[in-house]
Every structure is written in C-alpha cells, then in structure tokens.
C-alpha cells in the first residue's frame, strides 16, 4: 500500500508553493497518507479498455463569435486604456 513520507509531503508542498511548519509536515504526512492509502483501492479496479472521463457534457469546442461586445467590459466606463508598449519605428 502507498504511504507518503515526510519527503513526499515536502516535495508536493514545494511544487504547490506552500511553506509548511515542522508540525504541519508531521500532521499532513499522517493525514495525507491515510487518504492516499484509501484512494489506492482504485488500483484494484479492472477498467479494461474504458476511455477516461474528463468532463460529462459531451460538448466539444464551444466557441463564441469573435466580435467586440461592449457589454463584456469589466469597467463601467469602457475598456481599460493603457499606453502602447511598442511603437512604429520612425526610421523605416
């Protein structure tokens, strides 16, 4: 059965940009180990050739029309206007 070590917990914490205290590492190692052990039960299920499910809508590639809709502005006054970062070269 899968067991999480302190090293595993520190590793995932680093990946997830969480800094943990020494006490937290101990507590989470114990708690997360129990959960991982429990969910490992799934490895016994014979799934055969079934396709994995990522979503349940059956919808594929839903797009909106690429048109400006002023109703979508986040600010009431209109779009946020900022200075252009790049300008046209004058020496061309």
């Amino acid at each position: 059965m899968a067991k999480l070590t302190k090293k595993d917990v520190l590793h995932v914490a680093k990946l997830a940009k969480l800094s943990l205290s020494e006490k937290e590492v101990d507590k989470f190692t114990d708690q997360l180990s129990k959960v991982i052990e429990y969910v490992s039960e799934l490895q016994k299920v014979d799934v055969g050739a079934v396709e994995p499910t990522g979503q349940t809508t059956g919808l594929i590639n839903v797009f909106r029309k690429d048109e400006i809709d002023t109703g979508n502005y986040l600010a009431d006054e209109g779009p946020f206007e900022v200075e252009a970062i790049l300008k046209e070269r004058s020496d061309k």
């Binding site: 999480l4 914490a13 997360l32 490992s40 490895q43 079934v50 499910t53 990522g54 809508t57 839903v62």
Partner: protein, 457 residues
Amino acid sequence: MIPPLTIKETQEGLLKKDFSAVELVDAYLQKINKHNKDFNVFLTITEKEAYREAKSIDKTLGPKPLLGVTVAYKDLYLTKGVRTTAGSKVLESYIPAYSATVVKKLEEAGAIMLGKVNCDAWAHGASGENSDFGSTKNPWNKNYVPGGSSSGSATSVASGMSLVAMGTDTGGSTRQPANFCGIVGLKPTYGAISRFGVVSMASSLDTIGSFGHTIDDVKTVFDVVRGEDGFDSTVKNFTPKKRTQLRLGIAKEYFMQGLDKEVENSIEEVIKVYKSLGIEIKQLSLPHTKYAVPVYYIVQPAEVSSNLGRYDGIRYGEGRNTFGDEAKRRIMLGTYVLSAGYYGAYYLQAQKVRSKLIEDFDKAFEQVDALISPVSPTPAFKIGEKSSDPLKMYLADVYTAGANLAGIPGLAVPTGFSKKGLPLGFQLLGPRFSEYDLFELGKMYHEAVDYKPKIAL
C-alpha cells in the same frame, strides 16, 4: 410580521398589500440580527442594498418571477461591490468588480439580496467547520453541524433568515446541508446553470445549487437561473421531455453497512408512499458505488490544486500561507496525484473508474427514470465529531459524490425528524437534464404525505 415560507404566499401578500417588501426585509433582518451571533450564518449583511431593492419593488410591484423573494448567497458568488470571501482569509478583503450570472439573473427577476453567507473555505467540507470565519451551527440543534459546504445557505433558509438561498454542489455541498437542515436542495445537471462569477473549486464537478422550503420554490429559482449566458461553455439550453409514467429504482449498494437505521427506515417509508401512489419500483445495482468516494478524492483535489494555483497574493487576496488546513491538504493531495510518476496510477485510473461509474448510471436509467437514495449515511453529526479526521469526513460523501462525477441532477427532499429531533430526508437522482421529473416525483411524495415546511428559529 412573520414572513411566509413560500414564494407564492410571499408574492400574494405583496400584491394584496398585506405587507410591503420593506416590511418583509425588516422582518428578515430582525431574525438575522437576533440569531446571527449564535449561529454564525451571515458573513456580510447587505442591509442598504436590500432596502433599496425593497423600496423599488414596493413602487412598481411588476410581474417578476422572483418578485420580493429574499435570497442569501454562499460567499462564493461574486457580488459587485460586496465583499466575497469564499469562506477563506485569503479573500477576506476582496471586493469583486462584477456579479455572477446567477446573481444578475436573480436581481433581474426581482429577488432581494440579504447578504453573503458562511461556508467551508473554498467549499471544502461537509460540515461547515472548515470556514476560516468559524463554523455555522445547525438551526435545529446548536451542538450539531448544519452540513456543508453550503452551511450558511442551508441554515439561512431553515432558520427563516432568508426565503431561498444559493449554494454550490461539487460532491454533495447542496444536498447534504439541505438534508441536515430539513429543507429542499437541488444539485442540477452539470451544464444546466452558468457558473460564471462563482469561485471555482473542481471545474468538472462544480454545479450551482439552490435551497428553499418547497420543491416549487426550488423549481421557480431553477427556471430563472438555468440556460446559456455565453460565459460558461459547459452550459446547454434544454427543453424538458414530457413523460407519462415515472419509474423509480433502488440500488442495493445504497442500502448497505454504515447506513444509519433511522435514515434507512425513513427511506423505506418513502418507498411505501411511492408504491401506494402506483409508482413502479425496481431493484437494481450500481456495482461501482464504493469507488465513488476514492474517485472523487482524486479528481476533485487534482482540480482544486489547479484552481487554487491562482491565489498567489499578487493580483488580489493574501498570500498562500493564509490557506487553512483543509485547502492545504487538498492542494497537496491534488498536486501529488498529478505529479510525475503518480499521474497514471492515481489521476488517470480515477478518470477511468469515473467512466465505469457513469456506465452504472447509464444502465440504471435504461430501466428507471430516477433513483431513490439516502443523502448522507447519518443525520447531522456533532460539531467536532469528524473534524480531526479528514478521511472520516470524506466518507460522508458516499451517496452524493456519484452524481457529480456523472454530471447528473439530484434533489434532496426533506421528510421529517429523527428521535433526537434532527432532520431526515432522501434524494432523487435522475439522468442528465431530468430536473423536472425529479421535481414531479418529489412533489408527488410531499403531496401524498401533506408535507408542511417548518422553520427552526
């Protein structure tokens, strides 16, 4: 005045001028102010906005589907200009620049927002105890949890602090608190209602839940909020199918070890009522039921770890050290099951077993139109009973998580009370977009037993 418990009676009272919308708001706010300290329901009370809305309603009394209906929003719903915390200290001072689609639709339909209500932080929990702002208490007994994660939403309705409330349901977070508080709760089909402007938890599972005292009220809210808005690409408009004779199924896996005797007996009584109404009841099997919780606790934390990645304290909110224990656990679990070397064994395998669970439901719905099931293995449990053991808390999702994994709707229906005076009920599960069948079935039961809603406080 004492506010009526249904939308219909509220609107009749307003139109007949038995009371004004301002008087309604007075009464609800009085209730809130009297009990909020003890039960910790509202995180923000929007008194000014509520009176403004009530005054404009009194002036026009226009024909709107939710005219004068007071609503409390789980603090996951963005409300323009009104603080939205997601129950977490990370967003303690966050004031959104826009409102969720659901909030806008309810506003346009004439609803009156009373405020933002407590929940487990980021909707992580089944008891309300994971809120960074303290637990909400069960309105029927203060020593018990109200359920979660939409703890404040269910409590506000059950205690008469609001007529309806909005919540979310990712693994049971609407149905379970509705069950623990003795009210009606709907988890809609995944893709029936836009989630635009609602803080994301697990995007392939999140749905918009609603609470009310009666099935009619929950249906009225559903009619207002459902449908495409152009901002949530999973949403689909649908026309309900007309059915003549509805058939109910009972899955043997739902009535096994661990199910509280009183819960089981109360559901047997419900089945008897349906039989007496001439509903055909079929015994069937959902063989992968016991894997619903393990699949859920891989898929959901994986998506949580991704959705909570955006909270870095740079654009808004506090830094990642502000996350509470449960959020940290889920972020780490999710990161672990997605990390190099473990992805195939955990995440991919869970997605495959998820397909098997869906197959179970598909097969069942070839034979019946809806399933009858417990909502939770037990009635409400005591505050503190499970909070130190996360795994124990997770196991309480056994009857609810399946519907989220399969994307199907579920309706929590209250029936009565246990010997200890805690609410009991059951849930109806149906195929995708079968909400109106579930409403009909639920109403058949309530009419047969002459169900009368009660408020706790």
